[in-house]
């Protein structure tokens, strides 16, 4: 089975993010870049499906600058078979990403797209859903368990009130939640082999898509620093403070 796994390059969750003084974005010097953790879970799941089935083709796709191929190489080292880099110098919003992915799906014809439920940089949580809509495919978001048998897929998804089980036929789009699996790290032979795996580059403007942004980032601001708490001596004082200062009761 051919599985397409879109991956995004994001700052390492352990990095301290600093907003530029003019609010135009974040400072990118000294940032360590990684595969979006939810996408890493998606890749792990695709690799496990391939391993269970004994055959298959796991294709990575990323939309970004030349440097994003570092994360694609990491994905190849983890075990993906090949990778596509859609080169876009300008940032693309979620709708544009979904449209580009829909085009890649049309060319590659995978039976399954597994993608992170959201990227930890802007936390949009939209691409998987828009992509499924554009393709007219079933979707299962927030997957915490995936089973595939005879062209049918069963997904347990994490909904607000508990777990929901959905079943559908392939092709489909699945977005991953945190508890789906624990991604592997690349082995040394994997890293060596990844150097020789194909990585295809496509310039985004050769795709002939309307990618004009629907979302514009006007300004970025760091969240307010948390103020230190204070200790109160009695319940009365607490009620008083909630009433007059916090104005919540």
């Amino acid at each position: 089975m051919k599985i397409l796994v879109p991956i995004k390059r994001v700052p390492d969750p352990a990095t301290t993010i600093r907003v530029l003084p003019d609010g135009s974005g974040i400072a990118t010097d000294n940032i360590k870049w990684v595969i979006n953790p939810f996408d890493e879970i998606a890749l792990e799941e695709a690799l496990r499906i391939k391993e269970r089935q004994g055959a298959g083709d796991v294709v990575l796709v990323s939309i970004g600058q030349q440097s994003w191929q570092e994360q694609l190489r990491t994905g190849l080292a983890m075990g993906a078979d090949r990778a596509i880099l859609v080169k876009a110098e300008q940032p693309v919003d979620t709708f544009a990403v979904a449209r580009i992915l829909a085009k890649i799906v049309a060319d590659e014809k995978p039976e399954l797209v597994i993608i992170g439920k959201q990227a930890i940089d802007d936390d949009s949580n939209q691409v998987g859903q828009i992509l499924a809509e554009l393709l007219g495919w079933p979707q299962a978001t927030f997957a915490s368990k995936i089973e595939i048998a005879d062209g049918r897929c069963t997904v347990i998804r994490e909904a607000d009130g508990g777990l929901e089980t959905v079943a559908f036929t392939l092709p489909a789009v699945i977005t991953t939640d945190l508890r789906l699996n624990e991604p592997r790290y690349a082995s040394l032979p994997g890293i060596m082999k990844a150097r020789k795996k194909p990585l295809k580059e496509i310039a985004v403007d050769t795709l002939g898509l309307d990618l004009h942004p629907r979302v514009k980032i006007k300004a970025m601001k760091a969240p307010q620093k948390r103020q230190a708490g204070r200790k109160l001596s009695s319940v009365q004082e607490l009620v008083q403070a909630l009433h007059t200062e916090a104005k919540v009761i």
Partner: protein, 387 residues
């Protein structure tokens, strides 16, 4: 000059870090407290292929250089100090004499099993009565037909509790009968046969998860097929491995030093005493800044030496200088970390005392700082030998 890591080298660092995340501080604290070899960590390193990093591809390894191996060791020591490093250190470079001088049959027989992690082995060189003066070892191998019969004692033999085999240096010609005292020694990849070798564990300051032992060898029969290279050339074969070992141990010291320093810096930012973070006091900040600079400089020398070695250039001076400076900087960083954490630094729960105990050994082993200075005086500065 190019100081950047290649993409593949960066990938290796990332992957080792990801592996190490599965073995957090509590793991190492526990293994150290229980004196238990980190089998699951060792298996994870083997399964990810890192034991084969410097073993040629035809024997299942990845055939990379000492630069890559040093990166791996730095990261392992960062995460788990010497308990982590020593668990795999020998696996990563110890078989170099076998690769270089061993018979094809021996290589086929042992290298793939070393890569897979199935084969643990020890390095039995040091003796109670010889110490740093290796040429005066007394353990003797006497040829009897297709076998050698070996008698003697070894000390400080690390990992002998786990090992199935040991790289064993013996005399095959007594020192009185050779013209050059470095001749007449032979190297075996011998079975650590418990019926002929008594292994007695030694109590030590730290690195308790990896044992160090005394060996009493009494009539150990070793097949001539387990002789590495030529009889009588053992010492010379070991010399080849000295520079890479110095480079790796230096990288380990850097890893430990950086880890201890990172912990100290975090703590210095958070701990508030006298109404300010302790790191705001220059008495705390400057020593940390100073040792950071020392680690940076030492690391440059580590990778210069590794680069020279991987480009088949002489690297004796650089490897020795790297080991000297890295051991010093690494240990100083651990010491400063303990000091920065104050009373908590002395407590096991804060881990820096473990780094402090474990890092102390790299100033002694595999070669002492004094012997390194002897080497630099004699071989680099061409001063007369003092001993």
């Amino acid at each position: 000059m190019d100081f950047d890591l290649t993409d593949a080298q960066q990938e290796i660092v990332n992957s080792v870090r990801a592996l190490c995340q599965r073995f957090p501080d509590e793991y190492w604290r526990g293994q150290d407290a229980r004196h238990e070899f980190p089998h699951d960590f060792y298996k994870a390193v083997a399964d990810a292929g890192f034991l084969g990093i410097a073993i040629p591809e035809q024997y299942g390894g990845s055939g990379l250089g000492i630069t890559e191996a040093a990166l791996v060791m730095r990261e392992l020591a960062y995460a788990g100090a010497m308990n982590a490093a020593s668990a795999v250190h020998l696996g990563i470079f110890g078989l170099a004499p076998v690769i270089r001088y061993g018979s094809e049959e021996l290589k086929q027989r042992v290298l793939p099993r070393a890569v897979s992690g199935e084969l643990h082995f020890s390095f039995a060189v040091t003796e109670p009565d010889a110490g740093n003066d290796i040429t005066h070892i007394k353990t003797f191998a006497r040829r009897e037909g297709d076998y050698y019969v070996i008698n003697g004692r070894k000390v400080f033999t690390t990992k002998a509790q786990e090992a199935d085999k040991m790289l064993l240096l013996t005399r095959t010609t007594p020192i009185e009968k050779v013209t050059k005292k470095t001749d007449g020694m032979s190297l075996f990849l011998a079975d650590l046969d418990r019926s002929a070798v008594e292994v007695r564990e030694l109590k030590k300051l730290g690195r308790h998860a990896v044992d160090t032992n005394m060996l009493f060898i009494d009539g150990l029969r070793v097949s001539a097929a387990d002789l590495v290279g030529q009889e009588g050339r053992g010492f010379h074969m070991l010399l080849d491995g000295l520079n890479p070992e110095r480079i790796l141990v230096a990288a380990e010291a850097i890893g430990m030093g950086r880890s201890a320093l990172d912990r100290a810096v975090r703590y210095a930012k958070e701990r508030v005493v006298f109404g300010r973070p302790i790191g705001q006091n220059q008495a705390i900040a400057h020593p940390l800044a100073d040792v950071y600079a020392k680690l940076e400089v030492a690391e440059l020398m580590v990778f210069k030496a590794a680069w020279l070695f991987d480009h088949q250039k002489p690297c004796g001076a650089e490897a020795n200088i790297a080991k000297l400076r890295a051991a010093e900087a690494g240990f100083e960083a651990c010491d400063r970390a303990v000091q920065t954490l104050g009373g908590y630094g002395y407590m096991q729960e804060y881990d820096v005392e473990r780094y402090f105990r474990e890092c102390r050994m790299v100033k002694i082993a595999p070669v002492s700082q004094e012997m390194v200075l002897n080497t630099i005086s004699e071989h680099v500065l061409k001063l007369p030998r003092s001993y």
